[in-house]
Point group: C2
Chain length 303, copies 2
């Protein structure tokens, strides 16, 4: 059955009254690239004033929570570090608190400084990542450089603009020679939207390591429930009074469905109208639909 498309002030009010915790996707809901979605600042301020909890849930695996906050600050939206939840932080939470990653092991990072910063914040040892030894690779390949290392207990892959053969071969070697070494991807987004186009995303950078190692990776980011487990390890809230808001059926709305949380799809992002209301709609159905998250700003106006 097609989900209700909310349009009136009364429908908005009824929804907002039923929610204590807003889990918000960022790109497509809060902003489109460098532009804040009209009305969103008013909505966020209103919710904060009403004591509602806001958590920005993004698959971005490059930025630490501190960097995500800076992005919000630059856009004039304000945000506390506590409100920011990216897949870099979620991966560190997952390693530290769900997997109880051993203190004497280290994580081989295929990723950038923001991911390392989050691992540091949990005292998780790591190698690779921003180490110039791994970044500044020039062929010819020296095969002897790729040695098994049992101190590596996990390979953690995120967006890494320095991806190269050395990083891939080291990751594969650690995984192949040690069945206890786990393979984790912050997220598997195949593409990355910026500057008005799409470019290879985190999932497309690390799929080669998955393919070569023949491992089934543990994927943290949306739509996987691991992301929700990480959020719930840090934020106490009642899932029945939470709402996941996003513009992407396959990441945001599936994430809500996998986590048993109601969902609100906003249009004007990546989902065309006919995927919801067309003759052959997507099997992924949100609980509610509305045009723009900023439209809730009408609730801040006097009646």
């Amino acid at each position: 059955m097609a989900p209700p498309f909310l349009k009136t002030r009364e429908e908005y009010q009824k929804l907002v009254d039923s929610v204590d915790t807003f889990l918000l996707d960022c790109d497509g809901v809060i902003y489109h690239g460098p532009k804040v979605v009209p009305g969103v600042k008013i909505v966020l301020d209103m919710f904060r004033e009403q004591g509602k909890k806001i958590i920005f849930v993004t698959n971005n695996g490059t930025k630490s929570r501190r960097k995500l906050k800076e992005t919000f600050d630059k856009l004039g939206l304000g945000a506390t570090i506590e409100e920011c939840f990216g897949s870099a932080y979620a991966s560190a939470v997952y390693l530290a608190e769900v997997l109880n990653f051993p203190k004497d092991k280290q994580v081989y990072v295929v990723g950038e400084e923001g991911l390392e910063e989050e691992l540091d914040s949990f005292g998780i040892k790591h190698c690779g990542g921003s180490d110039p030894e791994d970044r500044e690779f020039k062929p010819p390949i020296v095969w002897e450089d790729f040695k098994p290392d049992d101190s590596v207990g996990a390979v953690l892959c995120a967006f890494d603009s320095w991806i190269n053969y050395k990083k891939m071969a080291k990751a594969m070697t650690y995984l192949r020679n040690n069945p206890e070494c786990v393979l984790i991807q912050t997220n598997t987004d195949p593409t990355f939207p910026t500057h008005g186009s799409l470019y290879p995303g985190s999932g497309s950078l690390s799929i080669g390591i998955v393919n070569a190692s023949k491992r089934t990776p543990l994927v943290i980011g949306k739509p996987n429930k691991h992301m929700m487990d990480a959020i719930l390890a840090h934020h106490k809230f009642d899932p029945a009074r939470a709402l996941m808001v996003g513009d992407n059926l396959l990441t945001d709305i599936e994430f809500g469905l996998n986590s048993d949380i109601r969902t609100l799809l906003v249009m004007g992002g990546v989902t065309p109208n006919d995927q919801i209301y067309g003759d052959n709609p997507s099997k992924t159905v949100p609980t509610f639909v509305m045009e723009s998250f900023g439209d809730l700003a009408v609730l801040a106006e006097e009646k």
Copy 2:
């Protein structure tokens, strides 16, 4: 039904008498890394003397035919350029003779000099590849560098030890902005055996481009019939009197099956005995099995 395991001189002779053209996988049949398989030199010389055609069929997409010949020469096996057929050459043949690649278009190469050499031999224009501009990439990413280019009519991916984000993003941009631009992979081998271990192979280096571009690639190498089409475009022979010899069920033996050519699996390579004669054998069944291709050397001895 389990295939016959040939063991006697009489069985060998009967097989050889039925073959005019031997299509030979290299690693695992002719040599193991730097070591020639015992007896193989005698077998090759005997076949050449008997006027049988030998074609070395390898998924190697890095080496030109000239370089493949050098490898054989170094191993003391001798080989003519005509006997060498790698997936780099096969891709150039396919572009030139099957796709009739337009003279005013160019190929964006994610690969190395050997592949460029083969494209040059057919007068196919190309860019990317060994161009230092694409190889020596250092973040930060400049998104404006990735511009659509309608002169690029194909993206051709092979093993490229210089793989980096710039190459992936350019390839994706050309494919995404031009539906007529085709995506070709020389081969999709996920790993690459060398120095006694496995490392990420061609297929694992280009799977990110496939994933990001959401294109169905045209794969040239074994087990795809495109490789046989390319071979048959250059070598005239009767497929009914040909034999594909290899050690890998999924590449070599599938290749024979897809091309309607009899197959001989040799043991001692990557295929364990129980995949053929175990309780739960592979569905890919060779026509014949024998221990080692070098065992045919017995036919060169006097009775």
